[in-house]
Amino acid sequence: MEKHEEHTAHVHRDDEGDKLGMWLFIFTELLLFGMLFLMYAVYRHKNPEAFLLGGEELDVFIGTFNTVILLISSATVAMSITAIQRGNKKQALVLLGITLFIAVLFLVNKYFEWGAKIEYGFYPGSDLLHELGHGTTLFFGLYYIMSGIHALHILIGIGLFIYVVWQIRRDKIHSTDYVWLENTGLYWHLVDLIWIFLFPLFYLIH
């Protein structure tokens, strides 16, 4: 029996196409969060007072801190791309290391923040929320859902970064082939982008 060539997919490389694909994926994410923002808008419109009061319960300091570190991590990712483009592997790895560290730090902060809230009695279905009424229930319901899904994205981002770091060390990602890093970077900026809106909407309303 004659043997046929195995059909391999990646005959041609198309970085621009990969990037377009990533952008399209980002659009889906934007709309996914967009709908959560839409829900937020609707419920805030219906329960303005409760949302203001709910906002007071959240810690502006932790929120600001998380915003700042997330911004820094966005910058380090962007810089790591510059580093790779310049062929500076070591710098790229350091910059990505910082990003990874910050990503973990963000989650640790979230963990403590959530932990404190839950201990206090603010969690979906809790008696405290029940007493505080519908608006507050909604505020915290949305808070948990939105920051939870956001945290999930951070987690996925961490996974992607680990993969990218590994690939850089194996020299699979280098100064002429770095679209993986670029796309991971885009993804990470998206995570930042979402947070830029979550922060004022939940922490800064008084």
Binding site: R13, D14, D15, E16, G17, K19, L20, W23, F27, L30, L31, G34, F37, L38, A41, V42, H45, K46, V60, T64, T67, V68, L71, I72, S74, A75, V77, A78, M79, I81, T82, Q85, R86, T176, D177, G185, L186, H189, D192, L193, I196, F197, F199, P200, L201, L204, I205, H206
Partner: protein, 94 residues
């Protein structure tokens, strides 16, 4: 496609962008303590929009990449805002 020219942003420009983002973050925290009623949210959203634009344009490279991405992104935002607007045809007049 590696033949296509790539724009390489310098570290310095990234740091400038970061600085701008810090300033805006500070501004939005500071502004919260002012009493402006409904405008508080508006201002907060405008600042957040500005930050988002900065991230999109510089960090996400919309300025230097194929213009297509910028067009698509605008288009997506327009759709989202219109959906939001149309939804409020219901909620504003209930």
């Amino acid at each position: 496609m590696s033949e296509e020219k790539h724009h390489i942003s310098s570290y310095k420009s990234h740091l400038f962008v970061l600085l701008a983002l810090f300033v805006l973050t500070g501004a939005s925290v500071a502004v919260t303590s002012l009493e402006m009623g409904p405008f508080n949210t508006l201002v907060a959203m405008l600042i957040a929009g500005g930050k988002a634009a900065i991230v999109l344009i510089w960090f996400m490279h919309l300025k230097f990449d194929n213009k297509l991405y910028a067009i698509f992104t605008t288009f997506v935002l327009v759709i989202f805002l219109l959906v939001l607007y149309v939804t409020f045809f219901d909620y504003s007049y209930r």
